[in-house]
Amino acid sequence: MTPGAPGAGRTALATAAAVRSGRLKAAEVLEEHLAAIRARETELHAFNLVLEDRARAEAAGVDEAVAAGRDPGRLAGITVALKDNLCTRGVETTCSSRILEGWRPPYDATVVTRLRQEGAVVVGKTNLDEFAMGSSTENSAFGPTRNPHDPTRVPGGSSGGSAAAVAAGFAGLALGSDTGGSIRQPAALCGVVGLKPTYGLVSRYGLIAFASSLDQIGPFAGTVADAALLLEVIAGHDPMDSTSLDAPPPSLLEGLDGGVEGLRVGIVSELMNGVEPTAAAAVEAAAGALSAAGAKVDRVSVPAAIYGLSAYYLIAPAEASSNLARYDGVRYGLRAEAPGGSADVAAMFAATRAAGFGDEVKRRIMLGTYALSAGYYDAYYGQAQRVRTLIIRDFDAAYRSSDVLLSPTTPGPAFELEAKTSDPLAMYLSDVCTIPTNLAGHPAVTVPWWPEGSSLPLGVQVLAPALGEAVMLRAAAAIEAGAPPAPSAPGGGS
């Protein structure tokens, strides 16, 4: 969170406690955030849509519940920003794509329902790389989001809007989706906590699919504890999602400050290579902090992790090519006229998709279509799935000697706008440290780490085996406690 931003001194947990006790009104909390939005949204463009009126009504509802002595819920009065690929009933949901512009879902995503049940106030829908494909939020059809710490730089992506919204104090918490790092990478570049849960822990119902076997919804927060709170609310089985795990929702806040005495921590060698020295140094420093708190730190190897990026860029586009087929102009969203007014339905499909999708989306649809084609399937999609199995095997081996693993979240800090837009491969490399986790289906969290003297944050990534969120967050909390303080904002103080 940027120093001096509204609510900077108050965690979401503290806000909810104050609202529930009646010491603070949800309406006041909301107005603080709306004021912050008015001050900087034009500059940053974190949102596709700010839901000022609806949010006011929701906040009033929370305050009424408190006044009437009813329990307003665990997120009472906390403003939450939603990535604009999460369906909100009756509220435009675009995926930052022209093809869905104006589409109002007929239903709420399961996570949105759960937020509302716990008294959260949805403040708006945040910008993203179109259909969550990108690492800088520059692939949005509605223009890029900028990094609150340096508006000449990107916030990361694809959940750049959600990361920037929390960092700029536009919202107390945010939700994003993470397919190859789309929560953790922007969280790291914006200096906030971002968490990708175990695949299946959080329902995907109402998350507009990019790559179904990799997508997970997860929280952005100012602190590790706030991220744990939000994850507790959204996690748990959902009968509407067949891939949702039939496990009881995890208890994460309890024991969060249990410390790391005796915890076995492994630094993943393969993910330390090729990153900027500052990124590697941040991990070493975080490991030092864990060590000082009683953890046993070692180097471990996850050899197949180096193939993660290649496997990912076959599996994710393959699934996307199928998931995005439905945008054909027949049922919802954009419909473009076929050239020459032709009544041929195939020509209408082609015209709609040509006009509605941006370049990166088209690139991935073509990649994925090719990878699934007869005669190529086994060499590409099939081979990538086998690599995925290897990555899981190597992680399993690493977790026999380590409780959690450590790596940089990104190879370096936020880069300048347009620095990588002409070079897709360079852009793809932004996710090299985060992708292996998605392929394995494991959880990972990024904790902000401000190198001394730097005006830009980095992230330290803590990885854990499937359903290892509790121990992972305990390690993350210890790193947070040992991290150097964020620099003071010019003219501000914290």
Partner: protein, 479 residues
């Protein structure tokens, strides 16, 4: 088709494999909670899932899996752990522009169906998949090319289907018909289908090829679509086989293609050429988990299986000794249970079969059959002579129309079987009134018997039993 080919046709053998799409009679669709109902207002049985709204996800209907298992068991298939794939192609009746279907790991494999006439047809697989929506082309006589626009109804989108793929073991149009008819009986018996071809509950595609008689190689096949009645199936296969024989006889070659059956024109017309067929880019559906029914589930399904048509036919044949045609009709219409119950209650098998095959089967469209108990009593009344055949039919018709006890209905109709002295009186009166005919009868002119029976019937208002009248006449004539 020229008649000349008829003779040459003897040298050729027709080879048919059938793909039957069966809509399952589940309460809800395959992947969502929408009602699975035919004939509703367009686009009223829909939700975010079956219209492919962004962000929606499929959840597999357990009952559909169970029905697929029942079909598999009825067709002697192995039930295997299975997965779903996505079949990707763009078409407006497909809300997601892919169809969720089972591909290389279907739930049922390697079974067979026994034809009523004997002989087994192999079943390669019977897999689960979702149905598409329905498109109506408006204007241009319903053809897509001339249509001014098209209307789409997604009520059918996501309705569960089981596709039953036979091996190319069928050798004639008639055998294909028998296979589909038997399959339909089996599907109805398992409760998986209502069997209504006219409503599209069962849809048949036929893969037809021909080869020189004696050859073991397969010829190039054509897939004929749009066969929605048994009559169409027979006509289309006969037409297509004859067409292929003519092409080959004339030195041409058959192109692997999809052909459409034109019911009005009585011919197949060329559709999509399969040699340039689409690449469906199948891959495992990541939104669903594998379906691996455990032993307990399988056991429960096996235990709940009904007696299937083949077993019902042999059971009925054993109990009644009735001819095959009657047996087939009774099992097909489900009246075998009625007959068996009547026979078990002591009714004459032959009479029970006759009344069920003729009167009861003929009235099934208008209402349910009578309770087995009442039916048995009626048959007994007839065989014991309490009712004549004509009276029994009348009483049965009353039972079918209004219900009620046969005894009560017979009384209302005034059908009291004639006491033998009443019959004797009537016969005496008729003889007296027709002395010349009586002499002829006595002289051995057998056909005059009919005249006397008619006269006695008239005198007794039909209450006499024809057999009893004849017997009385012969007794008096000393014959």
């Amino acid at each position: 088709m020229s008649a000349a080919s008829a003779e040459g046709a003897e040298a050729w053998e027709t080879v048919v494999g059938l793909e039957v799409h069966c809509e399952l009679r589940t309460a809800t669709k395959l992947f969502c909670g929408c009602p699975n109902r035919f004939g509703q207002e367009p686009n009223t049985q829909i939700c975010p899932v079956c219209t492919g709204q962004p962000g929606s996800l499929p959840v597999l209907n357990r009952m559909a899996v169970e029905m697929a298992m029942r079909i598999g068991l009825a067709l002697h298939c192995r039930i295997e752990p299975s997965i779903f794939h996505r079949k990707n192609y763009f078409y407006p009746d497909m809300p997601k522009d892919y169809q969720v279907s089972q591909y290389d790991q279907p739930i049922n494999i390697d079974g067979w169906l026994e034809l009523p006439s004997g002989g087994r047809i192999g079943v390669e697989r019977a897999h689960l998949e979702e149905d598409t929506g329905k498109i109506t082309h408006v204007g241009g006589a319903g053809r897509i090319h001339d249509a001014s626009h098209s209307l789409i109804d997604y009520n059918r989108a996501g309705v569960p289907l089981v596709e039953i793929v036979s091996r190319p073991d069928i050798r004639s149009a008639v055998q294909a018909r028998d296979y589909v008819a038997e399959l339909r009986s089996i599907l109805v018996a398992t409760g998986a289908s209502d069997g209504k071809m006219e409503e599209g509950s069962l849809r048949v595609d036929a893969n037809v090829s021909v080869r020189p008689r004696g050859s073991t190689d397969f010829g190039t096949r054509c897939e004929i679509k749009n066969l929605n009645s048994l009559r169409s199936l027979v006509r289309a296969i006969d037409y297509e086989a004859a067409r292929q024989i003519e092409v080959l006889t004339d030195g041409g070659r058959i192109i692997l293609e999809t052909r459409h059956w034109d019911e009005a024109g009585g011919r197949t017309t060329s559709g999509r050429t399969k040699e340039q067929s689409e690449d469906y880019r199948y891959f495992p559906e990541p939104d669903l988990v594998p379906v691996a029914p455990d032993a307990g589930w399988r056991g429960r399904v096996e235990a709940s299986m009904p007696v299937l048509p083949a077993a019902r036919r042999s059971r009925l044949a054993e109990a009644t000794g009735a001819p095959g045609d009657d047996i087939a009709v009774l099992v097909e219409t489900g009246l075998d249970e009625l007959v068996l119950a009547a026979v078990a209650a002591g009714a004459d098998a032959r009479t029970a079969v006759n009344r069920a095959t003729n009167e009861v089967a003929g009235a099934l469209e208008d209402g349910p059959p009578p309770p087995a108990e009442s039916f048995a009593r009626l048959v007994k009344m007839e065989t014991e002579g309490a009712l004549t055949a004509t009276q029994a039919k009348t009483v049965l018709a009353d039972m079918l129309r209004h219900g009620g006890d046969p005894e009560e209905l017979a009384r209302k109709r005034g059908f009291e079987a004639l006491a033998s002295d009443a019959l004797a009186d009537a016969v005496s009166a008729v003889i007296e009134a027709n002395p010349a005919e009586w002499e002829r009868f006595k002289a051995g002119e057998a056909k005059v018997a009919g005249f006397f029976v008619g006269q006695v019937m008239k005198a007794t208002k039909g209450n006499a039993d024809g057999g009893a009248v004849t017997a009385e006449l012969r007794k008096r004539a000393g014959l």
